[in-house]
Amino acid sequence: MSTAAPAPALQLVGIEKSFPGVKALQDVSITLGVGEVVGLIGENGAGKSTLMRILSGVYQPDAGNIRLHGEDTVLRNAQDAARRGIAMVFQEQSLLPNLTVGQNIYLGAEAQFSRMGIVQWSRLYAAAARQLAKVQVDVDPSTITGDLDFATRQMVELAKAMTLEEAGEGHLVILLDEPTSVLEQADIDILFARVRALKARASFVFVSHRLDEVLALSDRVYVMKDGGVVAELPAAEADTRQLHQLMVGRDRHSEYYREAQQRPFGEKVLLETRGLCAGAHYRDVDLTLHVGEVLGIAGVIGSGRESLCRTLFGFEQPTAGEILLDGAPARIAGPADAVAAGIGYVPRERRNEGLVLFLSVAANMTLASLRRVMRHGMIDHAAEARLAGEWVERLHIRTPSIRALCLNLSGGNQQKIVLAKWMNAHARIIILDHPTRGLDVGAKEEVYDLVRSMSAQGLGVLLIADTLEETIGLCHSIMVMRDGRVTRRFDAPSGAKPRQVDLVEHMV
């Protein structure tokens, strides 16, 4: 039920936020009543995380108001937000594993238990025990945090949030960001029971990709898309099917993704996995990548698709199953093995893993294939310059010179250098992990062109895309993953592409 109390616990009015090249939030208005649980859902990149960061004081909105208990408020930073009773329970926990539970709960707030600079631990532990009792967790506050299981640590996190009750103004706003993604069902039930029990003392914003859980716990649900709120509805009246429809539904321009250039792929299998598993990340993944095929993996955070790609490039080792290259079992112990086997990887962290920023354009292009410009065991600088010049021309890379540091180039030009590096190394399999992240529209289109031309040359491309449209538009085939398992496979030939909603159904 919509509980529009006279003074809601939290009100966001017309929040806007932009980053260079991206409008992350547009006119977002959200109300959170006292004692209410509000669900927040949306596809990757819909703006949920940005909104949570604004609420926890990490980002400042460009425009709009934040009202806490009816009063306009500016959240200067995370400490300021905490002082005003806004707490965040992250998916990636903020507890330090080497400290005790009590030390973690009052980390940074020990002064209240200190006398002349000496912390009186007995008082701190007694207070920590009271916080743990609020969330009904039976843990000795002097336990080392790292010794607890994940679910219990999550409850300690919640207990830590509850300390703000005494420190601040009483009624709390607690932001739960994907708190269930790594919990077992029994632990989820416990967490939800605690959250319900705490509704008398706190209001909650619950962000999750698991729609059934959002519907189970929330009073109302906000659906976000492209940085805006597209729907607000009472949880009791919504179902997952309806939410799926609301989350997607953008028009996909087939021209934008060069769909006319999509050609059927070859028969020959380049890469295959059989029953590949990696601990808690993913299980039983069978995958086949053919010559000239663009294979997309769709899935939300926690689906295991990133981990799968990192395994295929040798960053991580599988715990079971096998990888076959050209039909023969292969062991990829590290990226060096992957590169030697003809695999290239375009990472999401372009500035960290994609390029050596403090190295020249030319040196980055030959980094994975230095042997190609070596004569008699020596680097032939002239040959390297020639090769780099050719790539700069072919890919229209805008750089003052091939000797310029990559540091100073735009994201799009940097990404083209990363792609040039792998084409230069004659990679036959290219793993693209969010290849268009942070790029402007023009640069994105150039990347799409390159994906098409790689496919036409017979390279196998494994794609983790930023959006569903990108996945559908670019790929020949799509594999959908959820919670570490492959839930569905789609063929996506030009002219008979699956709809976004078909994919989303199997993603969340």
Binding site: F313, F315, G334, P335, A336, A338, V339, A340, Y345, P347, E349, N352, E353, G354, L355, V356, L357, F358, L359, A363, L367, A368, L370, R371, M374, G377, M378, I379, H381, K421
Partner: protein, 312 residues
Amino acid sequence: MNRDTLRQLMPIVTLVVLVVLVAAFQPSFVNPATLLGMASDTATLFVLGMGVTFVIMLGGIDLSIQSVASLASVAVALLITPLGYLAFPVAVLVGALAGLLSGIAHVQLKIPSFIATLAVGGVAAGVALLLADAQAITLGEVERGYVGWITGTSLGIPHEVLIALVVLALGTVVQHYTAFGRYSQAIGAGEPAAHAAGIRVGLHKTIACMLSGAAAGLAGAILAGRLASGSPTLADQLLLPAIAAVIVGGTAITGGVGSVWRTLVGALIITVVRSGMTFLNVDIFIQQSVFGAMLVIAVALTIDRSKIPIVK
């Protein structure tokens, strides 16, 4: 950009200013004999610094070099009688072996390079003490016949200077024309990206440690020839000036930026400061303090804080 250019030119400008400054007080400082003498004084320091340049460029450090150099001098003193000239390559090999140990400790056991090399330096120092029975071993008349290639002169140029020039040429080739040289720079400037490009990061770190050890071995051999003795403490007091030479020359302690040539300039600066202090009658005991201060100032001026927000 401008600031970068300035940063690059600073060491050479410093060197020129220092020479002019000392010469203004002591004109005899710039006569050819003095300059040649200084050049040969610089040789050992440069050879030590050249090796460690690669380790620093990779983002690490080698603190074992002075002990390894001393150990090598002992090896020369002990082996020159049975082996003759072969004693010198063996000394270099001993250094490379010590570097290999550092490399294994650093890469395979994942110990930070400063701890790994500090520890290996301790081991080398102990072995040197043991082998030399904690004493300096003076070369006899016959043995001295083998050190002419170090102590002699050709065409008026001291052999030490020629050796240093050969080392400079080798270092330049390694840095500019080999895969190892390129990868060292890449790893130092961005290890995750280097790793993700398929570069065997561990292997190249180990090679750098071995190169540094070998250079320390050669430096020890030169010292042994020069002083006509081997001693477990022969190269003591050389670690700080050698590291200072690399950093003062403009190689970044954070890795990724540096060159053998810069180390040459750095080593010359150290020598000019050292000789200058003697010329100007500054107490010799204060030298290490001056080098320490120079190191701090050089790092403070050259460090790129945007690259390392947290200093441990």
